[in-house]
């Protein structure tokens, strides 16, 4: 088992594997940009498939329309995450050793034994003078050494060694947070007529993606829209259509309320609400044969530039006494146009165009209802159109992992900045007197990019001493 563990670890730590996975993911991401992304039923995906009939079978089979949640993407991503974790661990052990070495060298009295990278002779130069020349030469090369007796030392701040491990661990944390966060995250779109509130529950969402561990109970109880402005201005900028959103607790207490527009979402705990779009809401009252109100509900009608009326019909479902769907009502409005261009506003005198279809698909009737007009059914009951207003489609996201994600991103930035912009290097130079003059023994360690390396230093000292090296070895 030990051998297997070692080989797996070595495999995952392979730089070539990491590089290969990165390039694969980059290329795969590029392929994803060439193909419409979304569900097979999405308009953009259907249009792409129609336009690329030759490619569609291959693209569909590979799942490229949902490229970034395809196993072809996720499995290599997880493998890269595992590879990064192994690399991070190895970098941590290496960094710890360097940290100790640098801390030792930065100690006040460096007496640590070292193996010289090279030795340079300074013929006919006294040791003290040779040390001064070496100090000046090294300074010119960017090594600001500390002089202690007959020794020059330089060591980077040991903290610079944490950069690379921090960066890699933060990347691992990102993968983990993204994975775990998706289990708790919920995001979706809900339509809320102005002046109404809806429960913050799955049934209220037109589109919803919720992780299996999402806690609905921990969220505000209702989401409402108090008012709506088509051209909300703030800070001298037209913010566009902006609903004033309110979130309430189960006991009806207002938790937070504000206008929401791009760059100004409503945030409450892990909840974040943005405006997505708006449309019209038609409110109807169902009455019995005596005119008593049985129920009241609103239907959401979207603007649709491709429709001659300017709206795509919304649907209202009327149930019978047993709770079965009895009648489906398609509702649309004729909205104003300006020179043939749709003007997405509420008509001054809204008239609801209604089309009633029975459960068996047969047409019951059609009508155009002004406010307070009613359509009477054969059994004497009636559906009365009581008014129209705007509705706001809200993007509602609940993601408690966002703060953790941002933290990981910040740590990654700090790590990569330290790793790439700060050098890790150490140098010890000692001078000793010889019969022919001074001998300067130099140990140079440059990890990552450390500026002037051993050979450059050796050449510079040689020039400074106008001498030939006694030992041609270099780091």
């Amino acid at each position: 088992m030990a051998i297997r563990r070692t080989s797996l670890s070595a495999y995952l730590a392979s730089p070539r594997l990491a590089l290969g996975l990165m390039l694969y993911l980059g290329f795969y991401s590029f392929l994803g940009t060439l193909v419409a992304q979304g569900l097979a039923t999405d308009k953009s995906v259907v249009a792409w498939a129609m336009a690329h009939r030759g490619w569609e079978p291959v693209v569909g089979a590979l799942g490229l329309h949902r490229a970034y949640i395809s196993p072809l993407f996720l499995v290599p991503m997880l493998l890269l995450g595992a590879s990064t974790a192994v690399c991070a661990w190895r970098r941590t052990t290496v960094a710890a050793a360097r940290f100790r070495a640098l801390r030792t060298l930065r100690g006040k009295s460096t007496t640590a034994a070292f193996k010289p990278s090279f030795t340079v002779a300074a013929p006919a130069i006294p040791a003290e003078q040779a040390l001064t020349i070496a100090e000046t030469t090294l300074r010119a090369l960017g090594w600001r050494t500390r002089r202690t007796g007959s020794t020059l030392t330089y060591a980077s701040n040991p903290l610079v060694t944490v950069g690379s491990p921090l960066f890699h661990w933060a990347l691992v944390a990102l993968v983990v947070i993204l994975g775990v966060g998706s289990l708790f995250r919920a995001s979706g779109l809900m339509g809320v007529p102005v002046g109404e509130s809806v429960p913050n529950a799955p049934a209220s969402y037109r589109v919803l993606t919720a992780g299996p561990l999402h806690q609905w109970a921990a969220q505000p109880d209702t989401i409402g829209v108090e008012s709506f402005e088509l051209d909300y201005k703030y800070g001298g900028i037209d913010r566009g259509a902006s609903p004033k959103v309110v979130v309430r607790s189960a006991d009806g207490r207002v938790l937070k309320t504000q206008y929401v527009y791009p760059n100004s979402p409503l945030k409450y705990g892990s909840l974040i609400i943005h405006p997505n779009d708006y449309g019209l809401a038609a409110t109807f009252v169902l009455t019995d044969t005596k005119g008593t109100e049985l129920s009241r509900s609103s239907t959401l009608v979207d603007f649709d530039a491709s429709s001659t009326a300017g709206t795509a019909p919304g649907e209202l479902v009327l149930s019978d006494s047993r709770g079965q769907d009895a009648v489906r009502v398609a509702v649309s409005f004729v909205v104003p146009h300006d020179n043939g261009v749709l003007v997405p506003v509420l008509p001054r005198r809204p008239e609801a165009i209604v089309r009633f279809v029975a459960a068996d698909g047969s047409l019951i009737g059609t009508d155009t209802l002004k406010v307070n007009d009613a359509f009477k059914f054969a059994d004497g009951s009636a559906l009365r159109f009581v008014g129209a207003n705007y509705y706001a489609r809200l993007s509602v996201v609940s993601d408690a992992s966002v703060p953790a994600l941002y933290t990981a991103l910040m740590l990654a930035l700090v790590g990569v900045t330290i790793a790439l912009l700060f050098s890790q290097k150490a140098l010890v130079a000692t001078v000793s007197d010889d019969v022919d003059g001074a001998q300067v023994a130099v140990m140079v360690r440059t990890w990552r990019h450390g500026g002037a390396g051993a050979s450059e230093i050796q050449q510079a000292l040689l020039r400074a001493f106008e001498s030939e090296p006694h030992d041609g070895s270099s780091d």
Binding site: P15, R16, A18, L19, M22, L23, L25, G26, S29, F30, G32, T33, Q37, A67, Y68, S187, G235, I237, D238, R239, G240, Y261, P262, N263, P265, I272, I273, H274, S395, V397, V402, L405, Y406, L409, M410, A412, L413, V416, T417, L420, L421, R448, H449, G451, E456
Partner: protein, 276 residues
């Protein structure tokens, strides 16, 4: 002086600088190269004032529309040349590479529509400044690395010609290290740009990442440059290999910044095309 006149003054100075750079490099005239650098840097003055005038007039930095965006990248390129020459005066020879690119960019900008685009509600955020600033910084770093890598490779080819102008440049190992350093700095800037963009996207749209073409291409650029650093730091790629990599990587970055909004239907495209 109007903004357009100042811009044409910048175009003129950049063009003269380019001609002088080519002339100086071909005929190995050091003084001409120095003059070329100063003429090019002088172009930054009218160019900078023109950007400033427009900034005041339209109420935002050079963020929106092909004219503003591409012109500012030309500005960033010449600044990058100035930084290179400041670090190592011999590196002013990089102007032979950077200045023609800058002239192409500013020329393209001048030929494009100049009508100002208003900052819409989606762009009205302080994150815009952070995001765009780091985009320009990363681009500047990468184009500097690109120029150094190209010169490195040219000198490798001309190694048998000791009288070559290129021989007056710093040692190949210094060039190799400089190219790496610029890519390192650019990678940090690119990372900040992506992170700032993700945070901003969450504020603006309620999601930090949606695989929009520009987001995806930013990630591809990041991966490409991460690959460069990886090959260098773990596989020990140096010299020609690293230089070729730096050379191939830049077009990916340029395509991300300028090509993607034109080639793809992206919600990000508004910053370049003005189409919402």
């Amino acid at each position: 002086m109007s903004e357009v006149m100042l811009m044409w003054a910048a175009v003129t100075l950049y063009t003269i600088g380019t001609i002088l750079f080519v002339f100086g490099a071909v005929f190995k005239l050091e003084k001409v190269l120095t003059a070329a650098l100063w003429v090019s840097l002088a172009g930054l003055i009218p160019h900078g004032i023109a950007i400033g005038i427009r900034w005041v007039a339209v109420g935002h930095g050079p963020y929106l529309g092909f004219y503003e965006v591409v012109s500012s990248y030309a500005f960033a390129s010449v600044v990058a040349l100035g930084i290179l020459a400041w670090i190592r005066p011999q590196l002013r020879l990089m102007g032979v590479i950077i200045m023609p690119l800058s002239v192409l960019m500013i020329g393209g900008a001048m030929l494009s529509p100049k009508a100002p685009l208003e900052i819409g509600p989606k762009l009205a955020s302080y994150w815009l400044t952070i995001h765009v600033t780091f985009a320009k910084l990363s681009y500047s770093s990468f184009i500097a690395a690109f120029a150094i890598a190209l010169v490195y490779l040219l000198r490798e080819r001309a190694a048998e010609n000791p009288s070559s102008m290129l021989s007056r440049l710093p040692d190949q190992t210094v060039l190799d290290d400089l190219s790496y350093r610029f890519i390192g700095v650019g990678f940090v800037f690119l990372s900040v740009m992506i992170v700032a963009g993700a945070i901003w996207a969450n504020e603006a749209w309620g999601r930090y990442w949606a695989w929009d073409p520009i987001e995806t291409w930013s990630l591809i650029s990041w991966i490409v440059y991460a690959g460069y650093l990886h090959t260098r730091l773990t596989l020990g790629w140096r010299g020609k290999k690293a230089a070729w990599y730096a050379l191939i990587a830049l077009p990916v970055m340029v395509f991300t910044l300028i090509g993607v909004p034109l080639a793809y239907n992206s919600i990000h495209g508004a910053y370049l095309t003005g189409v919402k």
